[in-house]
């Protein structure tokens, strides 16, 4: 990737980040009716707020300014790390995010470990003997994995491991014992996706000339597979694992609800139901930005590791 292409890629990313922020801030204006009135009605448990209260709320929260002014103010503050205050507790949104974020990161990392621990061996076993019983079993397992709703898997694990076997706590957050079931739930779906990637990558590599050479030298099959093939197959896999972030973030929302874990997902869901818009916007923006920046980083690493890959921006 030369300098010009890199510049173009950065420019595209900035445009997308702008789009992400407009979309995030603009969302509250999709609220049916007048946002200020809807929020106050919600806060007052369904009672109709007085016209005066609505006006007051609008002025206090800066909702009386035209959209571009509100948006500009929000972005300006957001860039400086200020995402506003919750409508309910007057707590800073960034502080609320900061207390919840570690739990979500822990869940993401743990489930990634689970996923890799299942997926890499399964993918290798599959690719070493394509078309075998093992291969079919692994591929079918992967299909089941991607088809399984993770909220159901979560309850299945709770019923078996917590209620029947009494091995782990049902819900909450805390020590490692609270992390096991949520990580298994989230990790197994991801394992399915990664196992397929490992299989494809290994099949590709095992077909290469240097593997034939290694084999014809009379090297043992184990050494060929693990030392020669796996190492090269892992290059694309490692970077593509980065792209699983989308899966982690999508899944974390549901899994945190199932296990009642205080994290970014439950923060977002609670804020949505309470129409606590500053929190909704803050969390959405954070997720969007993390996602865009990670994808960008993955693209860069990928094209650096394998210069044949070109993300120059022209038709993919």
């Amino acid at each position: 990737m030369n300098g010009w292409k890199l510049a173009r890629r950065v420019a595209t990313m900035l445009v997308v980040l702008f789009g992400v922020s407009v979309l995030t801030y603009g969302l509250i204006f999709v609220t049916p009716g007048d946002p200020a009135r809807t929020i106050l009605t919600q806060q007052m448990g369904g009672q109709t707020p007085s016209q005066e209260a609505v006006e007051q709320f609008r002025v206090a929260k800066g909702l009386d300014d035209p959209f571009p002014v509100q948006y500009a103010r929000w972005v300006e503050n957001a860039v400086q790390g200020d995402l506003g205050q919750s409508y309910y507790s007057d707590q800073a949104v960034t502080a609320m995010i900061a207390t919840r974020l570690p739990n979500t990161i822990a869940l993401g990392v743990a489930s990634m470990l689970v996923a890799v621990a299942i997926a890499v061996p399964a993918g290798i076993a599959s690719a070493v003997e394509p078309g075998s019983q093992t291969d079919y079993a692994a591929q079918f397992g992967a299909l089941v994995g991607v088809s399984m709703p993770n909220f159901w898997l979560g309850y299945l694990l709770i019923i078996v491991c917590s209620l029947w076997l009494d091995l782990f706590p049902v819900a909450g957050a805390g020590g490692l014992e609270y992390l096991v079931l949520p990580a298994l739930t989230l990790g197994s779906g991801m394992a399915a996706v990664i196992a397929r990637l490992v299989r494809t990558a290994m099949l590709d590599v095992l077909d290469d000339a240097y593997i034939r050479t290694a084999r014809s030298k009379g090297l043992r099959e184990r050494i060929v597979v693990y030392k020669h093939a796996l190492r090269n197959a892992l290059v694309p896999v490692v970077t593509i694992i980065g792209l699983q972030l989308s899966y982690v973030l999508n899944g974390a929302v549901v899994v945190e609800v199932v296990f009642q874990r205080p994290g970014l997902g439950t923060l977002l869901v609670d804020a949505i139901f309470a129409r606590d818009y500053p929190v909704v916007q803050g969390v959405t923006l954070l997720i969007g930005v993390i996602f865009v920046v990670t994808n960008f980083a993955v693209d860069l690493t990928y094209s650096r590791l394998d210069p044949r890959i070109d993300f120059g921006g022209e038709p993919t």
Partner: protein, 296 residues
């Protein structure tokens, strides 16, 4: 049309025979077809066969375990779980087809316009696509549905808005590849109108990849609808929607394990059926087309 005939992939008749070939030769594809057909039959006729009402409460029979008269037990309000699942199948399949249909039509239209028009139109549309794809799908759908307010229609709307972008990207890249092919240039040189070129030459050639994407997408839409309903944004009780049923069963994990597991199994089998079908359909695409699919 002579240029078209020289390339076997470009002929709809051939891709149709390839479709039947793929399904005939691939056992997983057969399983997928059978599962999907069974589901469709169940969704249409199941509710007609069941002797119970899906929403009427029968408090004398609360939380009964599976038995001959209630094969999957009853729920906390004494309703027959199997009956509710049958009605739920109608709802899930109907929603999935509707949402996927909207995604497909909107995405294809945008992709055709962007790819064929090029220039700033293309640039603007593609940045919109990038922005939508810049969010994890369920998170964005969750926020849109939440702001609109909890209801099944809003969830459908949110899922449709979030999901058309990958169709647009796929169609655009296909159109870009087709635009300079001989049969398209010759049609243009013959003075055919834009509409003619798009309708007769471009659309027939993007149908196959778009249909494959839609088949792969349906499973995701079913999971999304059930997931958002599970969170509480979609169907509201007493609607017999699978995700909603699962959510109301979680209070009774200890006393009535069947309440969460029955809808869970239904969702999984449905999604699995569509994924099996979509996966094997993908194999019938040309290598370039499946490579484009991988990049979505």
């Amino acid at each position: 049309m002579s240029a078209t005939q020289s390339d076997p992939q470009q002929r709809p008749a051939d891709s149709r025979s390839r479709l039947t070939d793929t399904i005939r030769s691939n056992r997983l594809a057969q399983v997928g077809v059978v599962v999907v057909l069974l589901l469709a039959v169940t969704a249409v006729f199941g509710p007609l066969v069941s002797p119970y009402d899906p929403v009427e409460q029968n408090l004398a029979h609360q939380l009964e375990p599976p038995s001959p008269s209630h094969p999957l037990g009853t729920d906390q309000l004494g309703r027959d779980v199997l009956t509710r699942l049958l009605y739920g199948a109608r709802l899930s399949l109907g929603i999935a087809v509707a949402v996927t249909g909207v995604r497909l039509v909107v995405g294809t239209a945008v992709g055709l316009v962007a790819g064929y028009a090029g220039g700033w139109v293309d640039e603007a549309l593609m940045r919109l696509v990038d922005t939508l794809l810049a969010f994890p799908g369920i998170v964005l759908a969750l926020v849109i549905a939440g702001v609109l307010g909890p209801s099944l229609v809003n969830v459908m709307l949110a899922l449709a808005v979030v999901g058309w972008a990958s169709y647009a990207r796929l169609v655009r890249s296909n159109v870009l590849a087709l635009r300079n092919r001989e049969f398209v240039t010759s049609a243009r040189l013959l003075g055919r109108s834009r509409t003619h070129v798009v309708v007769r030459h471009l659309i027939p050639n993007v149908v196959a990849p778009v249909v494959v994407l839609a088949t792969l997408d349906i499973g995701g839409v079913i999971l999304g609808t059930a997931g958002l309903s599970f969170i509480g944004l979609g169907a509201q009780p007493p609607t017999p929607e699978w995700g909603t049923m699962l959510a109301s069963g979680r209070t009774y994990l200890q006393q009535a394990w069947w309440l969460v597991n029955a809808p869970g199994v239904c969702i999984m089998i449905t999604v699995l059926g569509f994924n099996l079908l979509g996966d094997s359909l993908r194999d019938m695409l040309s290598p370039t087309q499946s490579a484009q699919m991988e990049q979505l």
